[in-house]
């Protein structure tokens, strides 16, 4: 009787585990190891608590986009593409979100992202970026994007997560800046059309302008591993953290930090692993 009950219980646990396909399931011992090491300022890969991994950024990787970038943080790999769209609207002043973000978790990163598996996570990242950019200060060229009272440039920033190794949001924000810096927006001229409206024509061959990205925000998350504050967690470390706070910073001559994101609970993070 009891063995049977234990059997059923074990099977249930196994099934539950299978459901989530734990690749990164760490044993308690491993977790203790990581946490105590962090509290003592030693991390598993030899870094200190405030050290970032090697960041590699390449821009101009995709030809079909107006701007693109690839960001690599050791095991995290992201591809960012920017496409510019000239929209005809009733009133361009009313269109406030001219830089739009969307994130797609590719199944290449982990089978859990197959189908709609990664959608929630992707939405969170996109939301964070959106909040960071919906700020008058960070986009000085905001007005320039409105070409005429009825035409406005919309920049679609699309991020594809190819490899998941932690610190996605940092990589995403860096990628966004790199891609937007690389973006070439076509020069256009306005010409009068009927009824006091205008039509938009391209100026000569391939003249482009670039956005001023000096103030674009960078998002950094600070994680709590036990008592230590750690940045740039790897995948294993992310399983162990309790909570994290993400900040978005926009730099100018005066270092003026802007608080933009909020606390993410530990449970959520572990569910995402």
């Amino acid at each position: 009787m009891q063995t049977q009950a234990v059997e059923t219980e074990r099977r249930m646990i196994r099934d539950a585990e299978k459901e989530t396909d734990m690749e990164n399931r760490l044993s308690d011992g491993e977790k203790v190891f990581i946490i105590s090491g962090a509290e003592a300022d030693y991390r598993v890969d030899g870094r200190r608590c405030e050290d970032f991994r090697n960041i590699m950024v390449e821009s101009g990787v995709i030809d079909t986009t107006d701007g693109s970038a690839r960001v690599r943080f050791a095991t995290t790999d992201l591809l960012v593409g920017v496409k510019c769209e000239l929209q005809s609207v009733e009133n361009s002043a009313a269109v406030q979100d001219r830089i739009r973000f969307s994130v797609d978790c590719s199944a290449n990163a982990t089978p859990q992202f197959e189908g709609k598996g990664g959608n929630e996570f992707a939405d969170e990242i996109a939301c964070a970026l959106r909040t960071a950019y919906s700020n008058d200060y960070v986009v000085p060229d905001f007005e320039k994007l409105a070409v005429s009272p009825s035409h406005v440039w919309i920049l679609h920033v699309d991020i594809v997560i190819l490899q998941y190794g932690g610190s996605i949001i940092e990589a995403a924000s860096i990628g966004a800046i790199a891609a937007l810096t690389d973006t070439n927006i076509c020069e256009v001229e306005t010409k009068p059309a009927d009824e006091n409206r205008v039509t938009v024509e391209m100026s000569e061959m391939g003249k482009v302008w670039n956005l001023d990205t000096t103030r674009f925000p960078v998002i950094v998350s600070v994680n709590k591993l036990g008592k230590a504050n750690v940045v740039d967690c790897s995948l294993n470390e992310e399983t162990c953290i309790r909570s994290a706070v993400c900040f978005g910073f926009s730099f100018s001559n005066k270092m003026k930090p802007q608080n933009l994101y909020q606390v993410v609970q530990f449970d959520e993070l572990s569910r995402l692993m």
């Binding site: 496409k83 769209e85 199944a107 290449n108 089978p111 594809v160 490899q163």
Partner: protein
């Protein structure tokens, strides 16, 4: 107005009708997946990752063979105009099924009963012949994963314009009316594991198109084969 084959007999990008585009490929791009590959056919760039064989979900499990699960997803920035949804539309689902069927014929599925092999393709840049490029990418990824197959599957797309067969179509050549056929063959033989036709083709032209496709698949096979052989020494420990 650009016609697909100009009056002088050349295509828009300077190729002759029977010439394929340049192929660059690399295996083993992701460490976390069992096998992965990156292929460039002309300007079409595809990343493919293979996971498995691993235990299949109870609902999907088959007792005598392994289940192939594919996902085909196109990045929103990959084409000329931005696409809103990377996957889930009709075309993507159709390609997914086609990929699954193709590899069910190519992989030795009876060797892994009850398990599942995942093949995920991500199109990073779209310049035509997507299905063919995905098949090629998947073949390479499967090789990298070490999954036993009957032979390498190579695919190519062939269109039919002005009584001429056009091989390896680019985006501009894939118009709404040109009939085009994607054919995948097993190894260097003319055993066909995949045929997909878009638009309408007169049955009289079918033999010509099939013959050209098979020939091109053989050419593509050579490229893939060379890539695999180049990768081998680096990945396998040879004593």
């Amino acid at each position: 107005m650009m016609s697909i084959i100009s009056e002088h007999g050349y295509r828009i990008d300077g190729r002759l009708p029977h010439q394929i585009r340049n192929i660059n490929c690399r295996l083993g791009v992701y460490p976390q997946a069992e096998g992965s590959s990156y292929i460039e056919q002309g300007n079409t760039k595809i990343l493919c990752a293979v996971y498995g064989p691993h235990e299949a979900k109870r609902s999907k499990q088959l007792q005598d063979r392994c289940v192939i699960n594919c996902q085909y997803s196109v990045a929103t920035f990959s084409g000329l105009e931005r696409k809103n949804r990377p996957r889930g539309d009709r075309k993507a689902n159709e390609f997914t099924r086609l990929l699954e069927k193709t590899f069910e014929s190519a992989i030795m599925i009876n060797a892994f009963p009850g398990s599942q092999i995942d093949i995920f393709c991500e199109v990073v840049q779209n310049d035509g012949s997507l299905l063919a490029a995905c098949v090629n990418a998947a073949t390479l990824a499967l090789c990298d994963a070490g999954i036993p197959m009957k032979a390498l599957v190579s695919a190519s797309a062939c269109g039919f314009v002005d009584s001429k067969c056009l091989v390896d179509l680019s985006n501009r050549e894939e118009t709404d009316l040109t009939p085009r056929m994607t054919v995948a063959t097993l190894g260097n033989t003319s055993q066909i594991v995949l045929i997909e036709l878009e638009n309408r083709l007169h049955s009289n032209h079918l033999p010509q198109v099939l013959a050209q496709s098979t020939k091109t698949c053989a050419d593509v096979f050579e490229c893939l084969h060379a890539a695999v052989r180049a990768h081998l020494p680096g990945s396998v420990a040879i004593f």
